[in-house]
């Protein structure tokens, strides 16, 4: 009811000012078989899957009413890469900016988009989007710097694909029987949620190809056979055109490239996305990590098989310069160091940690704690001991030093901002220290999802000019499930003054089962905001060595061993001829211990 009212208000407001797009997203299960190997349920929107890309124009307002008709799962939607200026409460992550949308309920996302580029939207409910609830979001720019050149636009999404549903995969991933934290290996790769995709093109034209990696886990090497690409956009940021023959997209990353087709036409052009097998714990014999598509010039001609590539040599995104020439932020006001590692806790499962803390969702969504904690809102304690929370002041230059103490690659994503990548080390460079800085580029790469090398580091900088609650997390969905998340609470006092959270957001929390409180600190404590008793906590650490139980067991075992030995010795000595009844009599020889084994005058005589 309230939701309908809100939609009406939004409509009226929208009609008065900006162009507004109204959409209804009914989220349901549908059955699909995208790789031709296995039909399975997937989460579609309005009965469609693949979910069509959402196209909007820069400056538009978007109002999307999401209805959850899944029946058996809650849901949510996050708009990956959109800054949500002034609308942090529309960002999507449950437990942070809103509550989960339970089955049968709905939620209206209403926000303005002022940034052009290639983005995507996906569920931010734990471990859900790889079941299919994701799609590209294209923000058209009438002022696009490449618009003179571009004859046509092509949108390509890449993804890994599992045959099993995420819920059972998650249960077996975070489990005592998976102590090494081995991530499930996907079964196939997809382009536009399909395979063997063909896109019609014409000779002599230049195409803007927007690429999104919507995978749960796999990074993709992407190349167009025989054609060089000119990178013009990365994660929504225009770049100086940069030539590349192959790109590497981690989960969450986007690129836009220009490809010019030879005027003389020729063969149809295969393009390949190949999953980075280095991420996989083991590589099954029947795994095909490649997926092929074709840019088709002539339908009559064949679709050539792509030739093999000897090595994967992808563009290093550090070489990309933002077109606006933004200089590196140099006066850092606040440095946050995040040491990440993977380790086991007392339940035997493998978890991910920032600074020895693994993320656990708080009782009250973090944004609602901001709104209800008064003057305590800039005290990080109120946000919980297990949320990796950092309070940022407004309009400061914030630096994140991320030390990856794991021997795997991880893509890290920040909500609400794009950051400058000041440095990204080689593999095995160890932790960041002042001394080993690679020279800071004058105009550094700017993006919102960055790859950090195994046992290496990255240094990121951004301006805290967007009050809100923003997550910083690894974008491998498995690691989101195992807790590799940090929370930035940016300018909370400012946020309290400026944010107007729609009442039906709070109502949604009441309609969760069980209802979620919307007031108080991470433990739901309203009276004493610094008292975190009862906050959600992770399992206890593994016992460090001998516990009481162990010591008792060891002592008892030793005692029993000694007793057994005692009994044997006692019995054994009884067998001795000296104590053996009637033994020595027949020989008439010496009694006791000196009796020889055999009768007679002794050996050798």
């Amino acid at each position: 009811m309230l939701h309908a009212l809100w939609l009406l208000l939004a409509f009226l407001h929208g009609a008065a000012c900006t162009k507004t797009t109204y959409l209804e997203f009914n989220v349901t299960w549908v059955n699909r078989n995208p790789d031709g190997l296995h039909e399975r349920p997937v989460m579609g929107i309005n009965g469609q899957w693949p979910i069509p890309a959402l196209h909007v124009t820069k400056g538009e307002r978007v109002v999307i009413a999401v209805s959850n008709h899944l029946g058996n799962e809650t849901t949510s939607l996050h708009w990956h890469g959109l800054y949500m200026n002034g609308t942090s409460y529309m960002d999507g992550p449950p437990g942070i900016a809103q509550c989960e949308i339970p089955p049968g309920e709905s939620f209206v996302y209403d926000f303005k988009i002022d940034q052009p580029g290639t983005y995507w939207f996906h569920s931010h409910t734990r471990g859900q989007y790889p079941d299919g609830l994701r799609a590209p979001l294209i923000v058209n720019d009438p002022e696009n710097p490449s618009k003179e050149e571009v004859d046509g636009e092509i949108v390509l999404s890449f993804s890994d694909w599992y045959h099993d549903l995420m819920r059972p995969l998650l249960a077996s991933f975070v489990s005592v029987t998976n102590p090494t934290g081995a991530e499930p290996v996907p079964k196939s790769a997809l382009i536009n949620d399909s395979q063997n995709v063909t896109v019609a093109i014409q000779p002599g034209k230049t195409y803007l190809i927007r690429m999104v990696n919507m995978a749960a886990f796999a990074s993709m090497y992407v190349w167009f056979q025989g054609h060089s690409m000119r990178v013009v956009e990365v994660d929504g940021i225009y770049t100086e055109p940069t030539e590349a023959s192959m790109l590497y997209l981690t989960a969450g990353q986007r690129y836009s490239v220009l490809i010019t087709v030879d005027p003389s036409g020729g063969t149809n052009i295969p393009f390949v996305a190949s999953m980075d097998e280095e991420l996989f714990d083991d590589i099954p014999d029947d795994l095909n990590s490649n997926v092929t598509g074709w840019l088709v010039l002539d339908n009559a001609k064949e679709l050539p098989t792509p030739s093999n590539v000897d090595t994967f040599e992808a563009l290093d995104d550090m070489s990309l310069r933002p077109l606006d020439g933004s200089a590196a932020l140099d006066k850092v006001d606040r440095t946050i160091t995040l040491d990440m590692k993977m380790d086991n806790l007392g339940d035997g499962a493998n978890y991910a940690f920032f600074n020895n803390n693994t993320y656990v969702e708080p009782t009250v969504p973090t944004l609602y704690t901001v709104m209800s904690s008064g003057q305590y809102s800039d005290n990080p304690i109120v946000y919980g001991s297990h949320t990796n929370s950092f309070v940022l002041h407004g309009n400061e230059t914030v630096e994140i030093i991320l030390n990856n103490n794991d021997d795997g690659k991880h893509p890290f994503h920040l909500h609400g901002h794009a950051f400058q990548v000041i440095a990204r080390s080689e593999e095995d460079a160890g932790s960041y220290s002042e001394g080993n800085t690679l020279s800071t580029p004058a105009v550094p790469l700017k993006r919102d999802t960055v790859l950090v090398q195994p046992n290496g580091y990255a240094v990121l900088r951004f301006r805290s000019d967007n009050p809100g609650v923003w997550l910083f997390h690894c974008h491998l969905e498995w690691h989101v499930a195992s807790g590799l998340i940090a929370t930035f609470i940016e300018a909370p006092l400012e946020l309290q003054k400026t944010a107007t959270i729609p009442p039906d957001h709070y109502d949604l929390c009441a309609r969760n089962k069980p209802p979620v409180p919307t007031l108080g600190n991470a433990a739901g404590n309203v009276d004493d905001l610094l008292d975190l008793n009862g906050e959600p906590a992770p399992p206890q650490p593994l016992p460090a060595g001998f516990t009481t139980k162990g010591i008792i067991a060891l002592v008892i075992s030793i005692l029993n061993g000694l007793i057994m030995v005692g009994m044997i010795a006692w019995y054994g000595m009884l067998q001795s001829p000296a104590t053996e009844p009637g033994a020595g009599d027949e020989d008439g020889g010496p009694e006791g211990e000196n009796q020889p084994l055999l009768a007679g005058p002794g050996p050798g005589t």
Binding site: T177, N344, A553, M564, I568, W570, S576
Partner: protein, 322 residues
């Protein structure tokens, strides 16, 4: 550390050799004491030859058979059965433990055996000094060649026992750990037998027998505990779909739900085990103990202790009623 000395193999070889050398030295002593006159010399030499023939033939068969069995098991184990390695080790540890348990007590009763032998030896002497006219038959042959048969059968029995023990206790060990342990075990056993022959008396012999039997039962308790541990860890490997030992001795290498104690160091499985491997051989030490391994160890000790206590009281009572 490359394992060059497998403690449990040493003890097993020692024990088998000890029993054999005791029997041989007993027989030799008896012959030496009985056949003292010049007239007896040819018979003495003949019977002594029989004894050594029995020993050497028995040893030869054991070595060939033992090497063949161990070689086959190692080959099969590495190629075909590697995924079932823990099951193999579990089963053979269990068998070895059972055999030691049953046979171990016999060693303590060796002193009682001499009466039986005395009768046999006397019969052998009779058979050998009898003329051509004496009746033939298997029984007669058995008596004539008793000096050959007794050591031969003893060596065969002890030797095959030893081979089974070694397979059970030493299956996980590298081949390099065997030669030195086997040589030392056999050497020390032979040495003790020789010393007994030269100057031992019943009292110190019994002490040796008791001490070695105590160790053997500790090893058997450890073997049972390890057998249970192997079965539990096989199940764990299946549950995590891989080899737990690959994760080292840290988290993930063991099932937290079954754990009684776990320390990240001191694993008898890694890098040959070192001293922890020795503790594992003799006492069944695990750096990661499970409910199964601890409880089975304690039940075994209690069971064996009770059995010996029962035997003790029964014999004490029997003695009193004589």
């Amino acid at each position: 550390m490359v394992q060059i000395f497998a403690a449990q193999v040493f003890f097993i070889c020692l024990r088998e050799c000890l029993e054999t050398s005791i029997i041989v030295s007993v027989l030799l002593s008896f012959l030496a004491q009985t056949l003292t006159s010049e007239a007896d010399k040819p018979i003495y030499r003949k019977l002594v030859r029989q004894i050594w023939l029995g020993v050497i033939l028995g040893v030869a068969i054991c070595v060939v058979f033992g090497a063949a069995i161990i070689g086959t098991f190692y080959h099969l184990q590495s190629d075909i059965f590697s995924q079932y390695e823990y099951i193999w080790e579990g089963v053979f540890s269990l068998i070895a433990s059972a055999i030691i348990t049953i046979m171990g007590a016999a060693l303590l009763r060796i002193s009682k055996m001499r009466d039986k032998w005395r009768v046999k030896i006397a019969a052998a002497l009779d058979a050998n000094s009898a003329g051509e006219s004496s009746p033939r038959g298997l029984r007669f042959l058995g008596e004539k060649y008793a000096m050959f048969l007794l050591p031969f059968v003893t060596v065969l029995r002890e030797g095959l026992e030893g081979v089974l023990f070694i397979i059970g206790a030493g299956l996980g060990l590298p081949a390099t750990a065997f030669p030195l342990a086997v040589a030392c075990g056999l050497g020390v056993g032979a040495l003790i037998g020789y010393l007994l022959y030269r100057g031992g008396n019943a009292g110190s012999l019994q002490l040796f027998l008791v001490a070695s039997t105590c160790f053997l039962y500790l090893i058997a308790a450890g073997l049972l505990s390890k057998s249970v541990w192997f079965f539990e860890n096989y199940a764990w490997n299946v549950a995590i779909g891989g080899d737990a030992a690959e994760t080292g001795a840290g988290p993930g290498s063991y099932d937290i739900r079954q754990s009684v104690w776990h320390v990240n160091c001191c694993s008898p499985q890694l890098d040959g085990g070192g001293w922890w491997g020795v503790f594992n051989s003799i006492f069944g030490w695990q750096n990661s103990a499970t409910y199964g391994s601890v409880i089975s160890y304690n039940l075994y000790c209690i069971g064996v202790g009770a059995a010996f206590l029962a035997m003790y009281s029964r014999e004490k009572k029997a003695a009193k009623t004589e």
